[in-house]
């Protein structure tokens, strides 16, 4: 069986209902190819998500999965990784889920540097609720009736904030380059720490102008660095439309050091029932 045939075995029987042309298809495809390439055993693989179009992802995979609540993919993923450190844990979701509702969790997940991979499919819009501005929406986007004059607010900068918060692997992918993304996902899973990938993933329905991203995205013009200052300087000069591995360091991954010291029964005794 070649990797393409093996990749198909990581897909579930549930067919994606994403809009035709959605960038999230490419992420699903890249993920399954990465799993096949790394020959991951499905019983040792869990994909955890929050809420939103892209958070449907676990349903489309045949691994273990948890389609959780809005913005809470990372706490669930972190809990799972602490309880079952031998698992490969992937958290996924969209820009609203990850940077607004789950923004605080994002900061602390970066800081803790648990050995997780977090993939955010960023389309700069809340698609599932029919097209409202998200944290990464540009201030002058006026196509939503809720923000007819634009948000007037500077967008969240995912890669720069991940760097400031202490993430040890920061990359940006593009759904128009599924092969490049597969490679990034492989590197992210192999990285021993918190690996964050922001994927530029166009929404053809609410942001049809993003179809032009394929002409705008270029390769990140620098080799990856392990120097945060250098990465910060590069990101400050970056227009947010480049893809590739930006920063990778070997900060020690956080893990539970002490063994369990109490039984479930002892925990229950602490609570008034």
């Amino acid at each position: 069986m070649n990797d393409l045939a093996k990749a198909k075995t990581y897909k579930s029987e549930v067919k994606p209902i994403w809009c035709p042309g959605c960038g999230d298809f490419a992420v699903l495809s890249a993920l399954t190819k990465a799993f096949a390439y790394l020959d991951l055993d499905k019983k040792d693989l869990a994909v955890i998500s929050g809420i939103g179009c892209s958070s449907r992802l676990p349903a489309y995979l045949s691994s273990y999965g948890f389609h959780g609540i809005h913005g809470r993919a990372l706490p669930v993923a972190a809990g799972l990784k602490l309880a079952r450190p031998e698992l490969t844990v992937i958290a996924s979701g969209g820009d609203g889920d990850g940077f607004s509702i789950g923004g605080n969790h994002f900061l602390h997940a970066c800081r803790r540097n648990l050995d997780l991979t977090y993939i955010v499919m960023d389309n700069e819009v809340y698609g599932m609720t029919k097209g409202q501005a998200s944290p990464t929406t540009k201030p002058d986007w006026v196509d939503s009736p809720l923000t007819p004059h634009g948000t007037g607010v500077r967008p969240f900068q995912p890669a720069a904030i991940a760097l400031a918060a202490g993430a040890s692997f920061i990359a940006r992918g593009f759904s128009g380059d599924p092969n490049g993304m597969t490679k990034l996902i492989i590197d992210a899973i192999q990285h021993p720490g918190f690996a964050f990938i922001q994927v530029l993933s166009p929404c053809p329905t609410y942001r049809p102008e993003q179809k032009l991203w394929k002409n705008q995205v270029s390769s990140f013009p620098h080799a990856p660095t392990d120097n945060p200052l250098e990465a910060a300087t590069r990101l400050y000069a970056d227009d947010g439309m480049s893809s590739g591995l930006i920063f990778q360091s070997q900060y020690p991954a956080w893990q539970q050091t002490s063994a369990v010291t109490a039984s479930i029964h002892q925990f229950e005794e602490e609570f008034i029932v």
């Binding site: 994606p16 209902i17 298809f25 495809s29 597969t182």
Partner: protein
Amino acid sequence: MIKPESIEDMETFLALSYLLETESSDRYEELADNMQAHHDPEIAHLFRKLSHYGEQHASEIMEHADGLVLPAVASWEFEWQNPEGPETTPFEAIGFHMTADEVLHIALANEKRGRDFYAHIAEKSPTESIRKLAAEFSAEETEHVQLLEQWIADIAHKISARPEDLDPPNIPE
């Protein structure tokens, strides 16, 4: 990254050719599933038909591999002209309410890229047997191009405007 035209051994060339066809066929299948999910059985059926042809081409390639052990190759290891293999439809190429004509034009563009890909290898490969087989594959792709052009011509009289979407997804509530 490996330049496809620099491949020197037949095993890797066949593995690459097989990959190219299966990647293309798998993608048609994914697009068919997507159109099916959005209640467009006619276009889903067309994508499945294209996927089936891709599978047939992949099987034909494997006939050349009889007795050989093909290496494992991954699409991202190669330097393509496009982000993926030449015959793979980009996910972003499709949309709601496509016409058969639009689908066939996508397939035609894929086959033309496949034809040109093999023609380039037929010209540049350092190995004579690969040059010869690549020329054969390019001729086959040329036939596929002609078939698709004929298919497009045959349905030309049936082409209607893009169907009206009575329930568009992007009307804000």
